[in-house]
Amino acid sequence: MSAADVATQHRAHVVQRPWSAGRTARVAVMVIAAALVLYPIIGFVAMAFRSQTGVQEGTDGFLGLAGVSIQHAIDNWKTLTAYGPRGGGLFQRWLLNSVIVSVSGAVLAVVTALPAGFAMARLRWRGRRFWLIVTLIAMAMPNTVLVIPIFLQVDAIGAVGQLWPVAVLMGFFPFGVYLSYIHFMTAMPHELVEAARVDGLGEGGTFFRVALPISKQAVALVTFFSFVANWTNFFLPLTLLTSSQQNKTLSIGLQEFIGASPLFNPTSAAGLTVKLWMPELAFATFISMLPLLVVFIAAQRFLIRGQTVGAVKG
């Protein structure tokens, strides 16, 4: 039997597979579940590309899809960028701030987490177990516990309202340390470290010349999770950046948009010249999602491979 015959037979088998009650039920459940998830997402994305007039008049059809247009998105962008005192521009500024702190925080997290994870996994030193437990405790510690101590420390050095303390604190990423630790424990055989030492490499050389080149997945994972955590971090910027208009990040800026929208504060927003309605708010949120999508797509190849980090002991 040729390969072509096998393929034809396989296709025939697939096509002729009977629709049993169980299979029909499974597909139906999956379709319903997918619809439940997709329905609000499609509605939300469509809203970002609609106009307030269409929303108000209710003429945009199912999920507002009939009212979707690029021109509306351009108009919504113009309205958003006009928001703020003295000619607007706050949205772009907050977007840039988010990029600055998220990227800086992610770079710091990678730079610190990978060597720390390597040291915990493959070096023998006093207190190793203790620091591993400390890392796990730090991972589990809720943000709310740290608000006042962090604020007081940053205030003590006069840096409240500035971006750099936020980036530095975002670089503190114990989950990344733990992830790196698991990676080096499982993906890097002990024999490799021994061989490097026999070849005369020191600890630094072993890390940079042996461990790091085989850790692309770990770097991608730590970068991805760190960036996502930084980009969506609300509490830290809220605590440290509330008193600085220009230095807010998008996560807390979106809340300010909501507070200034006639939809949520009808009376106080009555006197606003720039009014942010549902399409503008949805567009701002949509824009804030884009960097996450870009990072996810860029890291996807490594993420899929990296999912098995820790699954099999090397």
Binding site: I148, A260, N265
Partner: protein
């Protein structure tokens, strides 16, 4: 072994040295960096971040030269800009804060400033009137006693005592009112004329007429019950104690108070007669329901914001009349109207400039008459503002409406803002009970029960009178 210990000691010592050097570097860097601006309890100077260095003000430099930091919500930004135009000699750092009514972010930020002993803004517009409660608590004590500021004595005298009563805390004026938002009696004059109805004078007349209209014209409604301001619209107007502090830690909350039971019965009867809607005035469905609205007590901003802009009620029909009476005296609620606060921590030149700012935003026509959308709370600005109001011909009987606006100012029933959010408790209990088929009596019982629980959980001692 000894070599290992020596190495450990060396490493520990080295690590300590690195940490110490890093800390010194950070501290050194910080001395040239900016702080949050605003007041410091130790120096009383404005924050070290100059307006120019942050690029937030664009009005020049600050430092210790008297620059002030002010926090405002988005609609009050023009007030700050008008001040900068009028006083270019005073550098202003403006921070636009979260304008969410009932939001907690401002309160949380101030808790951090209190813990740090620095960072407060020199002046603030309180987006939520409830904020004045924590800002004047002994724990925070942020809002300065303006009664003790001689430069503001004339300003305070310019307010109707009822208008500024929300700022009168323990006999001290702790804030200045931006705009007044007393309730008036709104009605559809055309509907009344067409059906020969007489405009009610008292609350009892209003409810009697509401029931009659609901009977004569099924579907017509005479008010909304489901928004946070409804508690002011009805219970405050009836002098029902929901927000009546006896001291900073003691509050009177008594559902059995005769005023509460009487207003409760009137609301219950009207709701049973389908004369009142369980919706709130800001609900999306209220737009449709408003086509059946024929009268309602409501703030004077209902006219321009709700009737004209949101509900798009046809022009030429609606007007307002004098406040309704309760026990023979004019008595209405109050729905909103923002408050300006000044920091008690500010001193020196900054204090002088902050007082100038407070005076400007509370009284100056460049803001209050030319730019503000609400009726100025400051008496002398009211006539010039009213002269510009309603010139588009939207209202019926404009002279009567303006007279009603002015007479309502003194009719506002006593009410103090508390650490608990009465309006929020109202929206959590009343509409949910009503829409699930409950009576107004049951809804009010749930409201008082929840309010009492919340007051106690915050630390208030609750008494019946």
């Amino acid at each position: 072994m000894s070599t290992s210990r020596a190495r450990t000691r060396l490493l520990t010592g080295g690590a300590t040295a690195v940490v110490a050097v890093a800390a010194l570097l950070l501290a050194g860097c910080s001395s040239s960096g900016g702080a949050t601006g605003g007041s410091s309890s130790s120096s009383g100077s404005a924050g070290s971040t100059s307006a120019a260095s942050t690029g937030e003000s664009g009005s020049g430099t600050s430092g210790s030269g008297g620059g002030i930091t002010v926090w405002v919500d988005a609609p009050r930004v023009p007030a700050v800009q008008a001040f900068e135009k009028a006083h270019p000699e005073i550098p202003v750092k403006m921070v636009q804060n979260d304008g969410t009514i009932g939001g907690q972010s401002t309160k949380q930020a101030f808790a951090n400033f209190d813990a740090a002993g620095s960072g407060w803004p020199d002046a603030i517009f309180f987006t939520s009137n409830d904020d004045i409660a924590w800002a004047t608590s002994s724990q925070s004590n942020y809002a300065a006693n303006l009664s003790a500021v001689p430069e503001l004595a004339d300003v305070i005298k310019g307010y109707d005592p009822a208008t500024i009563s929300f700022c009168n805390i323990g006999g001290q004026i702790r804030c200045l009112r931006n705009d007044a938002a007393p309730d008036v009696f709104w009605y559809d004059a055309k509907f009344f004329k067409d059906n020969n109805y007489t405009v009610p004078k008292s609350w009892e007349d209003y409810f009697t007429l509401a029931i009659k209209i609901a009977k004569d014209h099924p579907g017509k409604i005479s008010g909304f019950l489901g928004d946070a301001y409804a508690v002011n619209r009805y219970l405050q107007a009836a002098n029902c104690p929901t927000n009546s502090p006896k001291s900073e830690t003691e509050v009177v909350l008594n559902p059995q108070n005769p005023n509460c039971t009487k207003m409760g019965q009137l609301l219950d009867q009207a709701y049973q007669a389908k004369a009142l809607s369980p919706l709130g005035v800001f609900d999306a469905d209220a737009v449709k329901a408003s086509t059946n609205l024929v009268m309602t007590p409501g703030a004077l901003w209902y006219g321009s914001y709700l009737l004209q802009a949101t509900w798009k009620v046809p022009a030429g029909n609606w007007t307002a009349s004098d406040p309704l009476t309760w026990d023979g005296k004019p008595s209405m609620g109050d729905e909103g109207g923002g408050l300006w606060g000044m920091s008690s921590h500010v001193t020196g030149k900054e204090k002088e400039n902050t007082i100038t700012f407070m005076k400007f935003v509370a009284t100056d026509p460049a803001w209050q008459v030319d730019l503000s959308t609400g009726l100025p709370a400051y008496g002398p600005d009211q006539d010039p503002w009213l002269a510009k109001f309603g010139t588009d011909g939207y209202y019926s009987n404009l002279d009567q409406l303006k007279a009603a606006f002015k007479s309502s100012l003194a009719a506002v029933a006593p009410y103090q803002y508390m650490l608990y959010d009465t309006g929020n408790v109202w929206t959590q209990t009343i509409p949910t009970t009503l829409t699930s088929g409950g009576t107004m009596s049951a809804a009010l019982a749930k409201f008082f029960s929840t309010l009492t629980d919340q007051a106690k959980s915050i630390g208030y001692t609750v008494s019946a009178g």
